[in-house]
Every structure is written in C-alpha cells, then in structure tokens.
C-alpha cells in the first residue's frame, strides 16, 4: 500500500518540480547565501551567552576548574534539596570530577522517576540563543535532561559557539567520525507553557529549573556584566 502510494506521490511531485540535476540544484542552493543570525547582547561571546541563559529563565554559576565546579554543584543541590545526591550520565567529563572533595554523592546512569536532580555535560553552548547542546549517546541519556525537577548543566567555556550556523559546522566532523547521534537536543530554559489563558508557567513537563555551570576561564566580572545587562533589559527604565 505504502510503496504504491510512494510511486504515485513521487510521480506527482516530479511532475511539479523543475527537474533540475543535482549539480544545478546544489549550485543554486549555494547561491542563496547565509541567513542573518540574531544580534548578540554583548560582543564577548561568553557574556552574550550568559545574558541569554538568564533571559531564558536559567540560572548561572561559574567555576574556574573542576574542583570549584564540584563545590558550586554541591552548594546548589544542598540549597535546593538539603541533599548531596544527584544523578549524572556516564560522560567521562562528569565521571572524572573530584566529587568526594565536596561531599557530593553522584549516581551515574539514567534518572529514575522521582529523582529530583540530574547533571548533564553539554557538548556546546550557543550564544545567539543561550541554548546548551546535548548529543544523545552511551553516556548522555536523554531522559536525564527531561525527567528531573532541576536540570544542572556543566559547560566548558571553550565550547561556546556564536550562532546556530556554527553549531552545524561543529556537528559535521561529529557525523563523519562516529555517525549521526540519535538526538541533538538544544535546551534553552526550564520547561514552560502558556496554554492556560496565555499565562506563562514553568515546569510544564520537563525540569522546573535549569542551572548552567560554566567552567574554565570565565571571570566573576563577566558574570556581573551579564547580570547587569539582563537586569537593564528587564527593567529598561531603571538606571
């Protein structure tokens, strides 16, 4: 049934198409140029990314190295859950963290229903959208990004990209090396809905909170600049 339908549909589509050869089509496409990206809120990609994370209703921490990252993660979990437990994927970046030093008790694997907090390692961050990018795979179960109440994300500042076009450029060698990941998830904020009288509510189906920990060479001054820009955008009348 489906193969007959395929033949019929393809025949109609062929009849309505221009009938150009592959080379001509690719050439025409290349000539259409590149789409403009959204303007960044700051010329520094890192600050621009942080502003957009805040704008997406995310929260932020910065950590100079792995030791500091473990500390801020431990502090976050304790403040919100009075606990030291979290679930993390088997990502080598997460497994290699000095968890014991700050008393955090990670369980590596998949989030089970009812577990409130998970930590994921983001492959990249995109400054244009303030999104963190995850590639599903052995060490990155997608349910860890979707099921917990609070989703914590560890992101290396060296992996920040300016725009979505750069993301596709970064993905090309990934595709060539290990094939196409099953899922590429761009997460930019806690889950939200405005389906009831257009009132915005967070925590529709996915996490209610989304906390990004930027590691590497990122200063508290950069974070403060991002916080200031975000506050100005929210309250443009205030000086």
């Amino acid at each position: 049934m489906s193969s007959e339908s395929r033949s019929r549909i393809m025949a109609r589509v062929r009849g309505a198409s221009l009938g150009q050869g592959a080379d001509a089509i690719e050439q025409e496409l290349a000539g259409l140029g590149v789409a403009p990206a959204a303007p960044l809120p700051h010329e520094d990609t890192c600050i621009a990314f942080m502003v957009n994370v805040l704008r997406n209703q995310g929260t932020l921490d910065i950590a100079g190295d792995r030791n500091e990252a473990v500390k801020v993660i431990g502090r976050y979990i304790y403040q919100h859950f009075r606990s030291h437990r979290l679930v993390a994927g088997n990502d080598p970046h997460l497994a290699a963290m000095p968890w014991r030093d700050s008393g955090v008790l990670p369980r590596f694997g998949e989030v089970e229903p009812g577990e409130p907090v998970a930590l994921s390692y983001a492959q990249w961050g995109v400054a244009e959208t303030g999104a963190t990018i995850f590639l599903t795979g052995k060490s990155n179960p997608s349910r860890n990004n979707l099921l917990p109440e609070h989703h914590l994300v560890l992101l290396d500042v060296n992996n920040l990209l300016p725009d979505l076009e750069s993301l596709w450029q970064q993905l090309e060698p990934v595709f060539d090396r290990g094939g196409r990941p099953r899922g590429i998830n761009c997460i930019a904020g806690p889950s939200s809905t405005a389906d009831i009288e257009a009132k915005l509510v967070y925590g529709a189906h996915g996490p209610r909170a989304w906390h990004v920990i930027l590691t590497g060479e990122v200063s508290s001054q950069q974070l403060q600049t991002a916080l200031d820009i975000h506050a100005d955008k929210k309250n443009p009348g205030d000086s």
Partner: protein, 472 residues
C-alpha cells in the same frame, strides 16, 4: 477531523454572542501582536531573514523531487522506516498497523496538526488504543471533547476557571490543589508523567525534515514532544512531505522566524533533532522509529497556483493579526486550520464548495501578509479562491450578479462616477444632520447591526478633479 466549515456564519454568530469569549479573544488579539513586534524589532534584520528563508523554501519546493528522495535515503540509512500516505485514511492505517505490530496499548502524543487533520486519535481509539495528548493545550481540549481553536494555542478559547472545572470533573484529585494556574499545570504534569512512563508508542509531528542528514526537527516549550520521542519503545513521526528543507542551517534559520512569529520568543525551551532509533550501547531512546509522510493533496497544491501556501510554517501569526479571526474565533472556521492560512488551506485540502465562506472571511486589510514569516501573499490567494468559487458557480447567484453589475459599472468610469457622485450627494444631504443612518434601503445587512456613516459632500474623484483644476 470532520469538516464543519459550511456552518461558518452560524458559528460566528454564536461566537460573537459569547461576551466572555469575545473579551478573551480581544486580549489575545492585543497582546500576541505586541509580543511578535517586540521580538521582530529586537532581531533587526528580520526582513532579510524572512526573504532568505522564503528563497530557501521556494528552492526546496521547486526541487522537492530531489530533496524528498534525499531525505528518504538519509532517514532510511539512519535506521528509520519511511512510509508514504496518499490520504488521511492511509496515514491512520499505517500508524495503527505499526501500533498493532507491537501489541501497543498506550500512545503518548505530542501536538500535531497533521494528525488533527487526519483524525488519528479517533481512529486509533476505535482500534482499541488509549491515546493521550500530552501538550497541555491539546490535553485540555481532548479531555473536554473539543477541537483546537488555534494552531499554536489549541485551548486558548477556554478560561482558567473552565479548565479548573474540567480537571475537577475528570481527575481523581485526592489531596492535590487546583487554586492557581501553576497548580493546574502541575496537575496535568503529574497525570501525564504517568502516561509518558507507561506509553508503548510515542507520536510526534515535525517542524522540518532535513534532506542532507535525515534529521527531523521538533520545536516545543513544554518538552512533551521530547518525552514522547525518547521514552516509549516505538516512535512515529507524522508529518507532511512539504516540510523538507535542504540543510541543517536552513531548519534553524526557519526556527528563528518561527519562534518570533509564533510566541514572540527569541528561542523556545526545546529544539530537538532526531535521526532514528536507539544506537548501540545507548541507555534510552526508541528501539524502532517510523516517519509517515502524508500528501493529502499537497502534491496537487505544489502543481497549482497556490504553491506558495506550502511555504506556511504554521506559526499562527496570521491568526493573531486577523480582525476576522479575533471576532469569529478559531472554532467558527470548522476545521483544523483557522484564520487566514486556514481559509486557504481548508478549501485546498478539503472542498472549495463545503468551505465556501472561508475565502470570503477576509476584510482585505493585508495584515496577514505583512506579518507572515514566509511572506505568503495571503490576500491574493484568498482573492484567487473567491474568483475560483465564482468561476465554478459556487458563489451564490445574487453575489455573482452583483459582482457582474459592479464590473460592468467599473468598466464605464463616467457612468460609475456619475452614479456614485449622485448617491453620495443625496446621502450627504439627508444624513449630515445626524451624521449617520440607522436604516437605508438595500443596505439592511449593514444597518441591521450598526449605523451607516453619512458620507462627505463629494467623492474622492470629485475632490481630485476639483484640486487638479485648481492647481492648473
């Protein structure tokens, strides 16, 4: 979904009599354009983006045979099973067959207007499956036994109180509270989380299909579509063949337009790309994935003068800016797609005769075309449909006679100007004191609902001629 467009005028009268509904629609008609305008202003080069994506979409449709075959090849190589459905019935059968092959009992569904179009839920339920809509708006209307009133916000016609009463009636609440909007969202989250975890099959739609790599793009804020795509063992993506775009960057360029035009957001919470089933060693994800590509007359549209309509990205901006949609509400249109885009798609996908009122539900104000991110000439396409209705004698004889008379007069400018000039002079004389008429012969349709303003003393042409003479 059963077509009810033939009742447009009766349903519009009902909608206008519902004062609470009118007030709710007025608020949305005020705020939705404000949100979009702010996002567009902030982007800056929005027009350049709009034109870029339009050219890409045009190129994709011009070469759809090439890109569709490429997508099918790449998606198959990624491990998907790709199916083609000529009609709604065929899509429904394919999906039911897949569910039955897996002895599925429960289906978790993400928002998909394509499956609303085909009436998939009813079909699967008749086949013995439990189908639960998981987008909050779709879940609300499913519980209420209603149809979507808006392609982006399907339950925006319902008040918070109505939703509260619905949950009180349908849910075994126990200790759970429903006082605030957040309580209602939490209630749906709690109930639907169970469905996600138990579902055998997940069904989602797709915002774009990427030819070069076989990925399917899904854009949501709630994350429900991603739960449907990741938790059940079988994933079925129901979409249409016109969604194909050449490259990944084309899909994300379109997404820039989509989110700003739909909700005024710079970015949705979840933008995901799915390529196929679970990879070796992966802990989660579906074991089997299917992509069902529906035609349902779209290949006919591709070959017609209405081809540009296939560039529609389903953002809902034309609905949010349409004075007729704001007055009549989405349900009056009587099918899945409402507002200006629905007034074109419904006749093309169903029947020009049964949806006769829709192309006429237009004041030709042009706002839809101004805000359409795909730059579709919506008023022109609506006019072409009206012309087609007249040509096929679907339009009522008295309207056709009236239009013929008007055309005859319009082609005789001297007579036209004499008659309009005389009529306006008479109306001005009789009406200048009161400023309007509450009754006028041959204009009962107008004066039955509102006063007819008394015209100025002379017509535009009379004033133009007088000024030209004075300038000489």
């Amino acid at each position: 979904m059963k077509l009810q467009s033939q009742h447009f005028q009766a349903k519009t009268a009902e909608a206008l009599a519902d004062t609470a509904g009118v007030a709710q629609r007025d608020v949305l008609a005020l705020f939705a354009p404000m949100l979009r305008d702010a996002a567009v202003q902030e982007f800056g080069s929005f027009e350049a983006l709009r034109q870029h994506v339009k050219h890409i979409r045009q190129h994709s449709l011009d070469n759809l045979d090439y890109y569709l075959a490429r997508f099918e090849l790449e998606a198959t190589n990624n491990g998907n099973q790709v199916h083609y459905a000529d009609t709604s019935e065929e899509m429904n059968s394919i999906v039911l067959d897949i569910c039955q092959q897996h002895d599925a009992r429960r289906v978790a569904k993400g928002k998909s207007m394509v499956t609303e179009e085909t009436g998939l839920n009813d079909f699967l339920q008749r086949g013995g499956l439990e189908v639960v809509e998981t987008d909050l708006g779709e879940y609300i209307i499913q519980q209420a036994g209603e149809t979507p009133s808006h392609i982006v916000g399907p339950a925006l016609h319902k008040s918070e109180q109505q939703i509260r009463e619905l949950f009180l009636e349908k849910h075994a609440l126990g200790e759970r509270e429903l006082e605030t909007t957040a309580d209602l969202v939490t209630e749906a989250r709690t109930v639907l989380r169970e469905h996600f975890l138990k579902a055998d099959v997940g069904i989602i739609g797709s915002n774009a299909l990427i030819a070069e790599n076989g990925y399917s793009m899904l854009v949501t804020n709630e994350g429900n579509g991603d739960l449907c795509a990741n938790l059940p063992n079988v994933l079925i993506i129901c979409t249409t063949l016109d969604r194909v775009l050449p490259r990944g960057e084309d899909a994300t360029a379109m997404q820039r337009l989509l989110v700003r035009s739909a909700t005024g957001q710079p970015q949705t919470c979840y933008t995901s790309f799915y390529s196929g089933p679970r990879r070796e060693g992966e802990l989660d994800g579906p074991l089997e994935t299917h992509i069902v590509l529906l035609d349902n007359k779209r290949s006919d549209i591709l070959a017609s003068d209405y081809k540009e309509m296939l560039q529609c990205i389903r953002c809902g901006a034309c609905l949010n800016h349409c004075p007729i949609f704001a007055a009549a509400g989405g349900h009056s249109y009587g099918w899945v797609y409402s507002g200006p885009m629905g007034s074109i798609l419904t006749p093309l996908l169903t029947s020009l005769e049964a949806s006769e009122a829709l192309p006429n539900a237009c004041s030709s104000c042009g706002r839809c075309e101004e805000v359409c991110p795909a730059a579709i000439p919506i008023p022109d396409l609506l006019r072409d449909l009206r012309h087609e209705q007249s040509r096929q004698k679907i339009t009522a004889p008295r309207w056709r006679s009236g239009l013929k008379l008007h055309a005859w007069l319009a082609m005789r400018p001297a007579l036209y100007q004499f008659l309009t000039g005389t009529t306006m002079t008479i109306l001005h004389r009789f009406g200048r004191k009161k400023g309007s008429f509450s009754k006028l012969p041959l204009a009962g349709g107008w004066t039955g609902k509102r006063d007819f303003p008394a015209p100025q003393s002379s017509t535009f042409m009379q004033q133009y001629k007088a000024r030209s003479k004075a300038d000489e």
